[in-house]
């Protein structure tokens, strides 16, 4: 089941996307309800799915007891699905019931295959987020 493009428009991640790009992304992203306590990402496992938060609170635990909480609509999780190191570096657990949008790495690369420029735009955004998260995981913040 795909989603409507208008759901993406208010999200920071998609702020500079045009209507066609939003529609392409909407066609590839799938909504998923996450139960309270559910672990959606497990540290050390191959990163196969990328998530965007629509609602809920998610606790991300990195190594050495470092952690962050993500709850802002539009924040992403599972960025290593598309950039190095290609395995999850944190465990993500939902604190309350919420909703996310998800895309598998295969679907992500198919999205790129269908629109190279859009792919590059997404990759660059994810790279910026990845740098930030790597810093947090390494304990520099």
């Amino acid at each position: 089941m795909s989603i409507d493009a208008h759901i993406l428009k208010p999200l920071d991640f998609f702020a500079d996307f045009n209507q066609q790009e939003l529609e392409e992304c909407a066609a590839a992203l799938k909504p998923r309800t996450v139960k309270a306590g559910e672990i959606i990402i497990k540290r050390g496992t191959p990163a196969l799915t990328f998530f965007i938060i629509l609602s809920g609170t998610y606790e991300v635990d990195f190594e050495k007891d470092r952690s962050i909480v993500l709850e802002k609509k539009g924040e992403v999780m599972g960025w290593s699905t598309v950039v190095h190191p290609f395995h999850y570096i944190g465990t993500v657990k939902a604190s309350v019931e919420g909703e996310v949008l998800e895309i598998s790495s295969r679907d992500f690369f198919e999205l790129i295959q269908g629109d190279n420029a859009l792919g590059e735009k997404i990759m660059k955004k994810i790279d910026a987020i990845a740098s930030e998260r790597r810093t947090i995981a390494a304990g520099s913040q």
């Binding site: 190095h84 198919e110 790129i112 269908g114 190279n116 590059e120």
Partner: protein, 374 residues
């Protein structure tokens, strides 16, 4: 008692031989990798389950096996032996591929052509090893790293080898993350892997719409035998790019290609009956397939390095490895190897250009081989 013994003698347990179990083991491994490891599930699950179906022993003459006239599997397999499924897959591929990065830097097309060297080198090797010219051509096309093209050409030239060739082609496509990166690293220096590609120029809507028509004429006039693959491919692409038949384009890249992939994978898997599949020829095909695929990867990288000798603006030679037509697998590997050296160097878009030209290149090669060998 006699009836009971007759029943027992007709069961798969009684009819089984070691080759069935070997193949069932291979099929189970494919299914496991697809489900537990999510490793190329779209390919490995249908093929793996097909291997299981094809290797359940049965009483010959009941019209059950894939090679028996009038069996259900035989009818489904018709799409493979006639080349129908590969054509349909190409229609879907065309409807999902964006050629804008290729049009932005047409010189990257040369890397897609260079990677086809693997096909010609393997053709000669296979002939030297005693395969007939038609068999050799069918084996060589594995170097194009394109499952549907391999099946299409083999169906035309050496239909008795479809099983092993298809399995080899799809196996090597699934093994891209294992085969390609070491070759890329071996043939390039760190400095070369760090080369940044300039931003591609913007490509107009008009250009992407004209491309499928021009591409069709250029490729199919050169190799008319590639029409069954490239005709649907470029048709799929013009449906996507024209924007006037979005519904059709969407169906082609989802329901249509998925349906063809299901039956293609299942029947190719089922065609690997132990008694047909497990022989010395299959081993030779697997070895030559690996050679073909490795040469294809290496020749793309080496050709990029040669281009760099003459070009002012250097190309990252990793891109050459994406000249094989496993879309988007090999483009993704190029991107990942590049990112390991420099996490801010994004090669994916450029690799996609080589990758999509590789699809066209291997289909043209298949057309040329078919014309030569008929």
């Amino acid at each position: 008692m006699e009836l009971f013994l007759q029943f027992i003698s007709n069961t798969g347990f009684f009819l089984a031989e070691y080759r069935n179990f070997v193949m069932i083991g291979i099929g189970s491994l494919f299914v496991y990798l697809a489900i537990a490891k999510e490793y190329e599930p779209l390919l490995l699950l249908p093929i793996g389950f097909g291997v299981l179906i094809g290797n359940i022993p049965f009483f010959k003459g009941f019209g059950l096996g894939i090679y028996e006239q009038n069996s259900v599997l035989h009818y489904l397999y018709f799409g493979v032996t006639t080349g129908v499924y590969p054509s349909i897959v190409f229609l879907g591929l065309g409807a999902m591929t964006d050629f804008s990065s290729l049009l932005a830097r047409p010189k990257l097309m040369l890397l897609g052509a260079a990677a086809q060297t693997g096909i010609w080198a393997t053709l000669l090797s296979a002939m030297a090893l005693g395969f007939t010219s038609k068999e050799a051509a069918s084996i060589a096309i594995i170097g194009g790293a394109d499952g549907p093209t391999s099946i299409f050409l083999t169906a035309k030239l050496a239909p008795h080898l479809i099983g092993p060739i298809a399995i080899a082609a799809y196996s090597y496509m699934a093994l891209i993350p294992i085969i390609q990166p070491p070759i890329m690293r071996l043939l390039t220096s760190r400095e070369e892997r760090l080369i940044r590609m300039p931003e591609p120029r913007p490509v107009s809507k008009k250009e992407v719409m004209i491309f499928p028509v021009v591409g069709l004429f250029l490729c199919c006039f050169l190799a008319p035998a590639s029409i069954p693959l490239l005709g649907p491919f470029f048709f799929g692409n013009i449906m996507k790019e024209s924007g006037v038949v979005d519904r059709l384009a969407n169906t082609a890249r989802t329901a249509v290609i998925d349906t063809a992939t299901i039956f293609l994978g299942l029947t190719v898997g089922a065609s690997t009956q132990g008694d047909v599949f497990l022989n010395a020829k299959s081993v030779g095909i697997f070895l030559l397939g690996a050679v073909a695929f490795s040469i294809a990867t290496a020749s793309g990288v080496i050709f990029a390095k040669i281009m760099n000798l003459f070009m002012k603006e250097k190309i990252n030679p990793l891109l050459g490895a994406a000249g094989v037509s496993a879309v988007p697998g090999s483009a993704r590997e190029v991107h990942l190897v590049g990112l390991k050296e420099d996490p801010t160097n994004f090669l994916l878009m450029h690799a996609m250009a080589c990758n999509s030209s590789g699809v066209i290149g291997s289909a043209v090669c298949a057309g040329i081989l078919w014309s030569f060998m008929m």
